[in-house]
């Protein structure tokens, strides 16, 4: 067992975990943050994407002990404390960027990371390329791409424009 201390969605968390506990298992089973999903469990599908120290990672391919001392943000940490959706979440709802919803938390975490790295003016080709590590088996991606584009613009302060569409 190993003792770890990390920040999850702004709160400090300490726990004693087995070395082989995956970060995603720690989040889901120990912290009951079940918004982060396990899809393929082989680092291909991206349903488990969270941010570790500000960067999108696949939490099924990282050990909880590797996150010791880090700051982790999950899908539960995106919305404001008052419950208002993050602009990217709002854009996914507005543009119907989901069907069954299983891939959505990972899609949104990847999309927010994309904006953080590439800025808010994202073209379709960039979005599709950047979504390479996130698999959706329902939508055909079309509305996801639209949602990411709108969410990116909203993150830059264009929220009212998106809402008015």
């Amino acid at each position: 067992m190993a003792n770890i201390t990390l920040t999850v969605n702004g709160k400090s968390v300490s726990a004693s975990v087995d070395s082989r506990t995956l970060l995603v298992s720690f989040l889901r089973d120990h912290l009951r943050l079940t918004g982060t999903h396990v899809g393929c469990d082989t680092s291909q599908c991206g349903a488990c994407v969270v941010h570790v120290d500000g960067r999108a990672v696949k939490s099924c391919t990282m050990l909880a002990v590797q996150a010791d001392g880090s700051s982790v943000v999950t899908i539960e940490g995106l919305a404001s404390a008052g419950g208002d959706l993050h602009p990217m979440q709002a854009a996914f709802r507005e543009h119907h960027g989901l069907q069954c919803g299983f891939c959505t938390p990972g899609m949104i975490m990847t999309a927010v990371d994309m904006v953080n790295r590439k800025g808010s003016a994202l073209d379709e080709a960039t979005i599709r390329h950047e979504l390479e590590g996130n698999i959706c088996r329902c939508t055909g991606y079309h509305n996801i791409v639209k949602a990411v584009e709108a969410g990116a613009a909203a993150m830059a302060g264009g929220a009212q424009k998106v809402a008015a569409e």
Binding site: S19, R20, S43, L63, V65, T110, M114, E132
Partner: protein, 267 residues
């Protein structure tokens, strides 16, 4: 995944001694290959020695006519580095094409080179650019480093500290991805430095990364895609599987080499 113990040393010396003490220890870099392998129970080390908090293993710097990249530098950092983009743009774009964004945030250059997956991208760059792999014990030329499938010259307890790439006058990397796995069916890195031309191929060789000397000889005469017109590569020693026959890969290597040379002369 089977149980293991985990240590997180702060220095290279501590990491080496942790490995020496372990019954069957393994170094953990970015974990993007090792952890999936352990999840499938294809590897079951007794101890993981995490290199993430070891001092001095990350970073990118120019040293004279060489670009030096720390072993724990993540693919995303190589891809986004202005220094790399300026010195060896082909290396930045190679790093930008590994896996997907989340994998690039974790995966490291040292891990990729130490693992020597026959379809990994970095080994081709190291071989074509004539890189030197610097470990805690010695300096190994790329030529002597890659020994076959998942095999390298690294000895037990030897840790890659950094990789030094001589800056070429022209270089580019072109890869044809397997449409499903996105790994290279054939990836070709071409580099020209002075009168020397090297062409290294990944994804296609049944013994891992190799230099295509037939293509090098053709390009030494004139470094132009035209020099590769009509040049054929023998299919012996190339992989054949459900995705592509050895003959298909032989042809694909020449096509990728032409694309790479076209990109290299265009820069």
């Amino acid at each position: 995944m089977y149980a293991f113990s985990y240590v997180s040393p702060k220095t290279v010396r501590q990491a080496a001694s942790a490995l020496a003490k372990a019954e069957d220890g393994k170094f953990l870099a970015g974990g993007q290959t090792l952890l999936p392998t352990m999840k499938q129970r294809l590897a079951a080390p007794s101890t993981l020695i995490d290199l993430a908090k070891v001092d001095g293993l990350s970073g990118i710097e120019l040293k004279g006519r060489a670009l030096v990249i720390g072993a724990m530098t993540r693919h995303a950092d190589v891809a986004a580095s202005a220094v790399v983009q300026q010195a060896i743009p082909a290396l930045a774009s190679l790093a930008a094409g590994i896996g997907d964004p989340a994998v690039r945030h974790r995966g490291t250059i040292g891990g990729s080179i130490a693992n020597n997956d026959p379809a990994a991208d970095y080994p081709s760059a190291a071989l074509a650019l004539g890189a030197t792999i610097v470990t805690n014990k010695r300096k190994i030329p790329a030529e002597e480093f890659f020994k076959g499938l998942f095999e390298t010259a690294l000895e037990d307890g030897e840790i890659i500290v950094k990789v030094s790439f001589p800056i070429p006058s022209k270089a580019a990397y072109a890869k044809f991805r397997n449409p499903a796995s996105r790994y290279a069916l054939a990836g070709v890195f071409v580099a020209k430095r002075g009168s020397d031309v090297r062409v290294a191929v990944t994804g296609a060789g049944s013994n891992g990364v190799f230099r295509a000397t037939v293509l090098e000889d053709a390009l030494k005469k004139r470094f132009s895609p035209k020099s590769l017109e009509g040049v054929t590569l023998p299919a012996t020693g190339l992989n054949g599987d459900i995705h592509a026959s050895p003959e298909y890969r032989a042809n694909l290597i020449v096509v990728m080499a032409k694309r790479a040379v076209t990109a290299a002369v265009g820069k």
